[in-house]
């Protein structure tokens, strides 16, 4: 088993290497780089000359866009990354690792809460829909779930903002704190509630977007299990319907559920780029979007490596959990 995981990890490292090279190449080939973006206005007004821009590019290591130049700078990035140094973010003027560790927590908080809600709401609804297949409940839930899955997040966010913030005015529109309020330094509780209040809408949007998937996934797997021979056996034993459904059937449905849901855990640190941006929540997704727009290569690289590692970790956790919940599985 350990061998299996070692092999998986070795393979993951290889994949990470490939991913990093690809992303590096693509970000270097973006038509306007960080310096172009920053100096465009100054160049236009004549405050800077092309030579100044060129010098800046050299300073930032963006001057040589030939293939060998890119390879050279990629190797430089790779060696320093191996040493644990992800470099300085152009845009934020801080080490990339510092930006990451500053901003992932708020993203994680949002994502984790909506993840919990997604489980608490989605799974029981999925079970109920599968037990009452083709009932009005089943159809309602299915349609609802499909809508949640199909709606783009920016649309749903905008809809929520329009309804709850602008029309009804019961929830704050954007941001993480109320700008007009001044809190005493030690009013931790008040500050906390103010933040939580601002997170209600983003969390609801994220939950609504993901709960449908969980619900449908539960329903599909539940239906498959409920049709299986051992459920007929359980019924033939004289077990009551709740025991059949919640013990015999659900314990089997849990295998795919736990496997996929546990695999999502690391990804919760990755941030919800679009939703955070629409709601102007300073989370890691929001920061990453801005950095990407500006061509902040060290941050783009650092963030994407971070995401890749989260994905790999998710797959490993998934494998481990699969082994834990399914007695038939022995990884080799």
């Amino acid at each position: 088993m350990w061998k299996y995981f070692l092999r998986r990890i070795a393979l993951s490292l290889l994949i990470l290497l490939g991913v990093s090279a690809l992303i590096y190449l693509l970000s270097m080939l973006m038509p306007a780089d960080y310096i172009d973006n920053q100096t465009a206005a100054a160049l236009q007004s004549g405050a800077m000359t092309m030579e100044d821009v060129q010098r800046l590019k050299e300073l930032y290591g963006l001057a040589d866009k030939s293939f060998t130049g890119i390879i050279k700078s990629y190797m430089a990035w790779l060696t320093s990354t191996m040493k644990g140094d992800l470099g300085y973010s152009f845009l934020y003027g801080k080490p990339v690792t510092a930006v990451l560790s500053d901003y992932i927590w708020i993203s994680f908080a949002i994502a984790f809460i909506s993840y919990l809600l997604q489980i608490i709401i989605g799974i029981p609804m999925g079970i109920k829909a599968s037990v009452n297949q083709y009932s009005a409940y089943d159809y309602t839930v299915s349609v609802f779930a499909m809508m949640g899955t199909a709606l783009p997040s920016f649309f749903l966010s905008a809809l929520f903002m329009n309804v709850f913030a602008i029309r009804l005015g019961i929830l704050p529109l954007q941001g993480l704190t109320t700008a007009t309020k001044i809190f005493a330094k030690d009013a931790h509780l008040q500050i906390f509630f103010d933040k939580a209040w601002h997170l209600v809408m983003p969390i609801s949007v994220l939950t609504l977007l993901s709960v449908g998937g969980t619900m449908r996934f539960t329903r599909t797997n539940m239906l498959e299990v409920l049709g299986s021979d051992y459920i007929r056996t359980a019924r033939a034993k004289g077990l009551s319907e709740p025991v059949v459904v919640y013990k015999h059937a659900f314990r089997n449905t849990m295998i795919p559920l736990v496997t996929s849901l546990s695999g999502m855990l690391p990804g919760l640190f990755g941030g919800a780029m679009i939703t955070e941006t629409v709601f102007a929540i300073p989370g890691i997704g929001y920061m990453a979007l801005r950095a990407t727009q500006q061509g902040d290569i060290p941050f783009i690289m650092g963030y994407n490596m971070f995401l890749s590692i989260l994905t790999v970790a998710g797959m490993l956790i998934s494998d481990i959990m699969y082994m834990v919940v399914d007695p038939r599985v022995k990884l080799s």
Binding site: Y134, S228, D229, Y230, R232, T233, A234, R235, A236, K237, G238, L239, S240, E241, H248, R251, N252, I255, V325, D326, P327, R328
Partner: protein, 409 residues
């Protein structure tokens, strides 16, 4: 029907090879599905009632020596394509302490008959729409299964009537240990059972079915056992509450030949030990000959002949049974499965109102295409549904025989 409807007709899948291919328009399909929902809801409501007074489902047996009596049972499936009459008027008895074999081609309704007895027909599509199933418990109390509310039925299932299924590989829950699955039944049905007493009982049962390393099997997951082992476990589980009746639905089909013989012997042994009855469903006439006391031959949802093993094997009356017996390889060849007889079973959604076997029968006469044959009794236990043996059909047979004799002269 309008021309537009004709154009919209859609072929019903799976009916291509049948003589009476069906076509449905979308509108017809929707109408069927709407009506079905109404019907199903009504039946389900009936079954879900709570606190039903006992008088409503108590009844009298026709013959007190029977454990179960099926009486004109009709079990239908309300599908979107129409009503599938899977069991369409089945009447037979399971006497105390006897083995009743049920044979017939695939899809003739054997499993649905047995599931009806357990109230395990796939709801809400599958419903018992007519007829009765009477069950007599050990104290001589008789229950009308078709009227029994669901919660009362739970006390019979697994305790007084238990089931063994065809696929031992998939009939045990893969995520629970054998011990846990076995203890569960004992704990459920035995008053005052503790986890220790349940385990003792399970171990006893595993010993009874001839498992050697009992402790190890008790602590195994199903996937760690072979198919034969699992079927033994299924039998052990079925026996653990001393059932009055065991329904064995093709218990050996999925096993290889040597294991088959062992399992059958085991079944016969345990039946004698608990003095129970067995309803043995199978394709295999060899198994029937070896095991059963009575045989029921089913065809397209109906019983076409029934009798004692001797009567059916030595004196088959219905052309279908005669065909079965002919096609049965004699001697010790182990593959005694039902040989196919040429032709097709009628479409289960549009059953004809004449003999279902007409299109395949060598003896078919005019009258056979006119009405469904009555049941003719040849002895107290032996009967068949065929025109050959009464009325117009019998006359015609006599005439033919005379002709044959005359031609011979």
């Amino acid at each position: 029907m309008g021309l537009l409807d004709m154009l919209k007709r859609r072929k019903v899948e799976g009916t291509e090879d049948l003589d009476n291919t069906m076509y449905l328009t979308l509108r017809e399909e929707r109408r069927i599905s709407r009506e079905n929902r109404k019907i199903m809801k009504q039946y389900e409501r009936e079954k879900n009632r709570k606190n039903v007074p006992e008088e409503e489902y108590l009844t009298q047996m026709r013959d007190p020596s029977n454990v179960v009596e099926f009486d004109n049972l009709h079990t239908y499936f309300f599908t979107d394509l129409g009503t599938v009459k899977s069991v369409n008027g089945v009447t037979f008895d399971i006497p105390q302490g006897k083995i009743v074999g049920v044979v017939g081609e695939s899809g003739c309704g054997k499993s649905v008959t047995s599931l009806s007895l357990m109230q395990l027909v796939q709801a809400p599509q599958g419903q018992i729409v007519e007829g009765s199933i009477r069950y007599q418990d050990i104290n001589g109390k008789c229950y009308e299964i078709t009227k029994m509310p669901r919660d009362k039925m739970l006390e019979i299932r697994g305790k007084e009537i238990s089931m063994i299924f065809q696929e031992p590989m998939t009939s045990l829950n893969p995520v629970f240990k054998i011990g846990e699955q076995m203890d569960e039944v004992v704990l459920l049905h035995t008053k005052g059972a503790t986890s220790e007493s349940a385990k003792a009982r399970s171990i006893e049962m595993l010993n009874l079915v001839g498992i050697a390393d009992v402790e190890k099997v008790y602590n195994s997951y199903p996937h760690e056992l072979s198919g034969g082992m699992r079927q033994r476990v299924m039998i052990a589980m079925a026996l653990s509450c001393d059932p009055r009746l065991i329904i064995a639905d093709e218990p050996t089909t999925a096993l290889d030949v040597t294991i088959q013989a062992q399992i059958l012997e085991l079944l016969r042994d345990v039946k004698d030990k608990i003095n129970g009855s067995i309803m043995l469903i199978t394709h295999d006439l060899g198994v029937i000959a070896e095991m059963a006391d009575y045989v029921v031959v089913m065809y397209a949802g109906r019983i076409i002949e029934q009798g004692t093993v001797r009567e059916i094997f030595h004196n088959p009356k219905h052309p279908y049974t005669i065909g079965l017996m002919k096609s049965k390889p004699s001697g010790d060849t182990k593959d005694n499965r039902l040989y196919s007889i040429r032709g097709q079973v009628p479409n289960p959604i549009n059953m004809p109102d004449y003999c279902y076997f007409c299109n395949r029968c060598d003896y078919a006469m005019n009258v056979c295409w006119k009405e469904y044959p009555d049941i003719v009794e040849f002895s107290e236990s032996h009967s068949a549904a065929c025109h050959l043996y009464y009325g117009e059909g019998l006359e015609e047979q006599k005439k033919r025989r005379v002709e044959v004799e005359n031609n011979g002269n």
